[in-house]
């Protein structure tokens, strides 16, 4: 096993953890405000398609990124309307969003971008080596030779931590996710907060999709999320609903993904399928381990009716 393989593995691990991290932080925003989003898979797909469509029709990757963000925000808004205002079951709506995402992206992917060999290739998100740091042997190549979204996604982690733990708004979000009635009696608008979190989560889902389509493959392929929306959910759970933990879990799962692609070159005999199962199994173990320890926001998946609407 030589150094080049290790460096390329590390680089790939980081590259593959970026979509997980972005989607994970997106789920974290919703989760912290008490919304269970199992529809991330569909949201990521829509973001992935929007990115390529935007980049292709407006000829720039910036347009693609913007399209992803807008598509994500829109689907987040729809999701918020259904689960917050309507109060419909979050699990069922999440499943519907997944089906919707898969269906819409497949139909429009074919009609707008073509399929198979003829599929449209779009301008990808550029890799920017960071001066000086990128020249560090081995480490520089792996860590500082990534694309723009990768840097942004890792910067997002401290930003989200700062937001959740140091700002008034972050405190409000956590309060709403734990005990909406208590927050309401103190004058916090529970629905408004949850809407905001859903839209932010949707935007991040869109960017996560974009990081898959424009960041890794430069094109859209059907069902390209391939379970990453659910792995992102795993990362949030395994990361104990914190930004740092989500990042660590994303790196772990991204690393597992990169590893299974390189099993043969590493001479490892474990079938790759077991590596692919790894995030899911770990999540189940973590969930059984945490249960009763109150890591999950207490009001998860419980619809809330505002005090001001109750008396009528």
């Amino acid at each position: 096993m030589n150094e080049e393989v290790v460096v390329s593995f590390l680089a790939a691990a980081i590259r593959l953890s970026v979509p997980l991290l972005l989607a994970g932080i997106g789920i974290l925003f919703m989760s912290r405000s008490g919304i269970l989003n199992i529809g991330m898979e569909g949201m990521v797909l829509m973001g992935a398609l929007a990115g390529v469509v935007g980049a292709h029709y407006y000829g720039s990757m910036e347009a693609g990124l913007l399209a992803s963000v807008l598509a994500g925000a829109f689907i987040g808004l729809v999701f918020a309307f259904l689960v917050v205002t309507t109060g419909a079951d979050q699990v069922v709506i999440g499943t519907a969003i997944n089906l919707l995402g898969l269906g819409l992206t497949t139909v429009f992917g074919r009609s707008l971008l073509g399929m198979g060999q003829e599929a449209v290739q779009a301008e990808g998100i550029p890799v920017i080596p960071i001066p000086i740091l990128a020249d560090i042997p081995y480490v520089g190549e792996a860590l500082f030779h990534q694309n723009l979204l990768a840097y942004a996604s890792f910067l997002l982690v401290p930003a989200a931590a700062l937001l959740f733990y140091k700002t008034n708004w972050g405190l409000q979000v956590r309060a709403v996710g734990e005990h909406p009635l208590a927050a309401d009696t103190l004058g916090i608008r529970v629905h408004k907060t949850r809407y905001a979190c859903c839209v932010i989560g949707g935007m991040l889902a869109g960017i996560a999709g974009c990081s898959l389509s424009l960041g890794i493959l430069n094109q859209f392929t059907e069902n390209m999320a391939a379970g990453r929306g659910f792995i992102a959910l795993s990362a949030v759970i395994f990361g104990k609903w914190t930004p740092g933990g989500t990042m660590a879990a994303s790196l772990l799962f991204g690393g597992a993904d990169a590893l299974q692609l390189r099993f043969q070159s590493f001479g490892i005999q474990i079938p790759y399928q077991f590596m692919l199962m790894f995030p899911y199994l770990l999540t189940m173990i973590a969930l059984a381990w945490f249960s009763g320890k109150g890591k999950q926001p207490a009001a998860t998946a419980v619809p809330y009716k505002s005090l001001s609407n109750r008396s009528e």
């Binding site: 405190l171 956590r174 927050a183």
Partner: protein, 511 residues
């Protein structure tokens, strides 16, 4: 200064449907006093306080605060004016720290950042000033109940409250914690805060309050200086003078003891729920357990049924000790149970009347055979019970949730009496019913007694206890005080026991 009025209500009315919870209440609260609001369950205390704190809005009448008419659309608006409320069930977020809970939703200047250090400093300062002894950096989930309550008080102070309402603050506290709370309340009073203290515990009211307002059935009975009134007077005002136990056929004494509890102890997370409870009920006897809500009634019934684990004690049926108990076994032994909350514990609201009626016997003939339900028999049974108990319902297939409360209770009663029970545990069997419906339930229970059933009646309505019981005991803080025969029971004495004024202590007060 002493008599400056800070808050006044003028002819305040609140209705829920056709039920009038507050009937033209006019009260005045003086600045810097501790004002008790006394009354039985359902007297309208909480409704009044919810209106003052912005949780509910009045239908008629006016609230004057600092001489100005006010109308609050939300608790936040009330808080902005300086009115704070500490709910009986705390509105705290266990996963957050004290400082986060206290400062939640407050704007600190224009900065988007949460000034954690500043909030902590402010809380420490308030904590020292009022002797609250609250550590702002502790997580709320790690605090004791008494400490959590002080955090709630801190929340109101942090928002600049001058008028603080405490809804049954001592219901959840241990005696040392009560002492601590009273110390805090006195400090608050010295600092010019007005405190409304909702309670039905006379002893505490006498200890801490300056004036007392008594509510009964939504009406104000009167406001008096605490020092000028005896406990007996207050008890009478609270319960009403007009209670007279109806003349009823007395039970022939004798008969063997059918249902017995010996030394029941139960506690949860170190909090004592039941303490050394022992009683025996003879055949054809009703033992009434009086007491104010939240003194262990629910725990007692659940422990007897096997839903709440006990630390010590035994339950005997016909002299035989019952080991591990659970509801299904108790049913098989002929123990009927009427739970307190019929909608949550007693019925499956979406299921039909006929299905709810077989909830205790669906596993046996004639309702099922070989695991298959006999629908015809179930329906015939329902039709029979509906007729027998004159349940007002569209038909046996109607969901039980569509019936009125009284009719729902009839369904439960019918179901339990179908067991032909030897023992019946009834909790608050007429809660929320009107006189006619309650009478009906009472008649059924007396009939069961006359057939030889041993009934444990747990009720917070003293009148009900007095009407039905052959013997009466009082439950106070998880302990049974003094069991007495109905004939010897005096209303005043029971009222005092319920309020936690122990016999000798009470004597001293009355002289």
């Amino acid at each position: 200064m002493e008599t400056e009025i800070i808050l006044e209500t003028l002819e305040l009315v609140k209705r829920f449907g056709s039920f009038t919870a507050n009937d033209r209440l006019s009260l005045a609260f003086r600045k810097g006093e501790i004002h008790a609001l006394l009354g039985e369950n359902g007297a309208g205390k909480s409704t009044l306080m919810n209106m003052l704190s912005g949780m509910l809005s009045p239908d008629e009448g006016q609230i004057l605060f600092r001489g100005r008419p006010v109308a609050f659309a939300s608790p936040r608006e009330a808080a902005r004016e300086g009115i704070g409320m500490v709910h009986q069930h705390f509105m705290l977020i266990p996963a957050l720290t004290v400082a986060e809970n206290v400062a939640l939703g407050m704007k600190q200047g224009r900065s988007p950042f949460f000034g954690y250090k500043r909030a902590c400093a402010a809380i420490r300062e308030l904590s020292d000033r009022f002797g609250l002894d609250v550590d702002p950096e502790k997580r709320v989930s790690s605090l004791s109940v008494g400490q959590q309550q002080r955090v709630e008080i801190m929340k109101t102070l942090f928002r600049g409250a001058d008028f603080i309402i405490l809804d049954e603050p001592t219901a959840v506290l241990t005696p040392p914690e009560v002492k601590e709370l009273f110390r805090v309340l006195r400090t608050l009073k010295e600092n010019g805060k007005t405190i409304v203290f909702i309670s039905h515990k006379l002893k505490e009211i006498r200890e801490i309050c300056d004036r007392v307002s008594v509510l009964r059935l939504g009406k104000l009975i009167g406001t008096t200086d605490q020092a000028d009134t005896t406990s007996a007077d207050l008890a009478r005002m609270m319960i009403g003078r007009d209670i007279q136990a109806p003349i009823r056929r007395t039970r022939e004494s004798g008969g063997r003891v059918r249902f017995e509890a010996r030394g029941l102890h139960a506690s949860e997370n170190g909090v004592r729920l039941l303490k050394n409870i022992s009683f025996g009920i003879r055949e054809g006897e009703i033992l009434g357990i009086a007491g104010v809500d939240g003194n262990g009634q629910r725990e007692l019934s659940e422990a007897l049924l096997g839903l709440l684990p006990m630390q010590a004690g035994s339950v005997l049926l016909d002299g035989e000790e019952l080991g591990r108990r659970h509801p299904r076994r108790m049913t098989a032994l002929g123990v009927a149970y009427i739970p307190e909350d019929r909608q949550k514990d007693g019925l499956v609201l979406q299921m039909s009347i006929e299905e709810n009626l077989i909830a205790k016997e669906y596993r046996s003939a004639p309702f099922s055979r070989g695991g298959i339900v006999n629908k015809r028999k179930v329906k015939l049974n329902a039709e029979e019970q509906i007729r027998k108990f004159s349940v007002k319902a569209p038909g046996p297939g109607a969901p039980v949730g569509r019936l009125s409360g009284g009719n729902q209770q009839k369904v439960i009663l019918a179901r339990e009496l179908m067991l032909n029970p030897g023992v019946m545990i009834a909790m608050q069997p007429t809660r929320g019913m009107d006189v006619g419906a309650a009478e009906n339930v009472h008649r059924r229970m007396l009939e069961a007694r006359d057939r030889g059933c041993s009934v444990l009646l747990i009720s917070t309505e003293l009148e009900e206890i007095m009407t039905l019981s052959d013997r009466i005991a009082v439950l106070y803080k998880g302990e049974l005080l003094d069991t007495m025969d109905r004939e010897e029971a005096e209303l005043d004495r029971i009222g005092m026991l319920m309020a936690g004024a122990l016999p000798n202590a009470a004597e001293a007060i009355i002289h």
